[in-house]
Amino acid sequence: MDNVVNNCMNLHLLNRSPFSSRVYEDVLNAMGSEDQLLLIEDGVNGALSSAGHYLAGLEGRLFALREDLESRGLSGRCSESVIVVDVDGFVALTEAADKTISWF
């Protein structure tokens, strides 16, 4: 696939929990090998240690929004492989990406 196109990096935004919505499958299917995934809103439920199998294979490219984890009391239950960013970091992720694709 990578010989077809330029080296473009997309940021994907997921706001649905993988425990209740299978939209994460569509996200994974559309993610390139360099693409990043940021979990926001109910999407942060996917950052729980127990959700690791849903979003496997994204080490170093899987992020979760701190304020949405904190408001849900989930900060301490987050998988170590998830990189937690604040809203400033959210903006920084969009800056670095060619484009941002939302999934809901």
Binding site: M1, A30, G32, K99
Partner: protein, 130 residues
């Protein structure tokens, strides 16, 4: 319809509209199609990707709801008039629903495997998702 031949079908484009909701249950699909049509009417180069429940938009035999609410079939029928010719469907989403490319006959579509779905999201410079 058919399997994509890269380099040709996955040429760069301006705006990819991703549709992943089914007709009737919500307005997402209609609203996404309307955005795509407006973009095409403005002379923009538009592509459509049907994925998730959006693949159900392509089944034949749809009709208005019992109260007369519109589905998406009338909008799909108008796509050609707006020169929206690049229509793609996600093979994995079809397969999960027990459908094959023979079932999605409402529109001429190109069926894309995972690697080509990725390539598609990369070769369009902008994306709107619904």
């Amino acid at each position: 319809m058919g399997i994509v031949s890269p380099g040709e079908s996955l040429a760069p484009g301006e705006l990819l509209v991703i549709l992943r909701h089914a007709p009737h249950g919500s307005s997402w699909l209609r609203e996404g199609l309307e955005a795509a049509m407006v973009a095409a009417a403005f002379g923009r180069e538009v592509g459509l990707l049907f994925t998730g429940e959006g693949v159900l938009a392509l089944l034949e035999g749809q009709q208005a709801g019992a109260l007369g609410q519109k589905g998406s079939d009338n909008l799909l029928a108008a796509l050609e008039m707006y020169d929206v010719e690049r229509c793609y469907v996600d093979a994995a989403a079809l397969e999960r629903r027990g459908l094959s490319e023979n079932d999605v006959s409402l529109l001429p579509v190109t069926v894309l495997a995972h690697a080509d779905v990725v390539a598609l999201t990369q070769c369009f410079s902008r994306v709107l998702s619904f």
